[in-house]
Symmetry: C2
Subunit: 228 residues, 2 copies
């Protein structure tokens, strides 16, 4: 197939991300264990975070604002100021984490960039994603970087229009069936799924939703070079 542009997701496709959110949520649950069971805290936090997505969007700042809201609610508005401070610290720690590239990713990008035009399509905080790309050392392999507020069909169609290419000429590679695979297939473009160990509950899709869709799952990003 003659792909003109190959797009990579960033978080958990180029580098480790989701485990840091899990770690942050566990710290949050420990901070609030005086008020509730850790299980209940995780459930409530998930509700607040996903409920706020239309307003806050994705990323670390949104997550921290939702953590503060969830904490005031769980404490029945009796939250000690020190805990607020500690939640802010969780956010600042996340925002300054060093980048941990996934295995083989640099070699794969080096090889593919000789033959294809590569771009990054990610969602989350604009500044945070740009910083991660700068720090990753991977920027030189990419022609273009786009941070999307939501990875849905409308978002991908806008990108294709902007890139001036047909869906058939576009291949998306990422770890999320919901964000990187399904909407891409639904607009008639191509996708490869490279699952990551840890996946956010919100990104899960049912097996049924993937019925009647052709896409390739590769267990390792390394296999992309041979596949193409």
């Amino acid at each position: 197939m003659a792909y003109k542009i190959i797009a990579f997701d960033a978080d958990d496709t180029l580098w480790v991300n989701e485990p840091y959110f899990r770690e942050a949520e566990n710290k949050f649950a420990k901070l609030l264990r005086y008020y509730e069971t850790e299980n209940k805290i995780h459930q409530e936090l998930y509700k607040v975070i996903t409920g706020n997505i239309p307003l806050y969007g994705y990323g670390i700042k949104s997550c921290i604002l939702s953590m503060i809201q969830c904490a005031t609610e769980l404490s029945n508005n009796q939250l000690p100021s020190e805990i607020v401070q500690q939640i802010l610290d969780i956010g600042k720690e996340m925002l300054t984490k060093p980048i941990e590239l996934l295995p083989d990713i640099e070699n794969v990008l080096k090889t593919l960039s000789q033959k294809y035009q590569l771009i990054v399509l990610t969602k989350g905080d604009l500044l945070d994603q740009e910083k991660k790309l700068d720090n990753s050392g991977l920027l030189k392999y990419f022609h273009h970087v786009e941070v999307m507020s939501e990875k849905n069909e409308a978002g991908y169609l806008r990108i294709l229009k902007h890139l001036n290419i047909e869906p058939k000429e576009f291949l998306m590679i990422g770890n999320s069936l919901k964000s990187d695979v399904l909407p891409v297939l639904q607009i008639g473009a191509n996708a490869i799924h490279v699952p990551f160990d840890s996946e956010w509950k919100f990104e899960k899709v049912s097996k049924k939703a993937m019925d009647n869709h052709d896409y390739k799952t590769l267990t390792s990003i390394r296999k992309i070079v041979d596949f193409l």
Copy 2:
């Protein structure tokens, strides 16, 4: 002059924005008046917000996180939970404000879009800016929208490269000398300054910084059509 692309800043160039931040800061100062004078609260908040820009960037979510930090500090970590909740509410109110277009802007865009390719170059929260554009009804006049994490020379150079045009062919229109005019002139492109009533202290530049730079100041966006 044969401009190929005319770029518009968004906040306080297309629609009202800065007064909403001033309003939010005044509410914040009132919430904390038990701890400090309003003047001191404004000063401390400014310090925290600008100190956090490298980590949080611009926009409402960043502002609210900084407000919460500032409040815990001003209260000597004795901040009542209700105030945390009220600060979160200030943020949610800002994020759901209706769009108030500046006078004449729609007519100006309609006229210019018949002759030029128009784009939007803004900074702030990606999701928030996209929503404002969607709600503004102005999206149809723009070929392309780019949310920048920082409006500096490197950022503008990246945009020009991406648009594949020369600096001379690019005209930027905006209300901020610091973000919309100075860095644009410094890369050899063109800029028109349309001041807005209210300007964030952080965006101010000295008169001296503008020495030896050619740019036009127009007192109203309406005058752009005649000028071009």
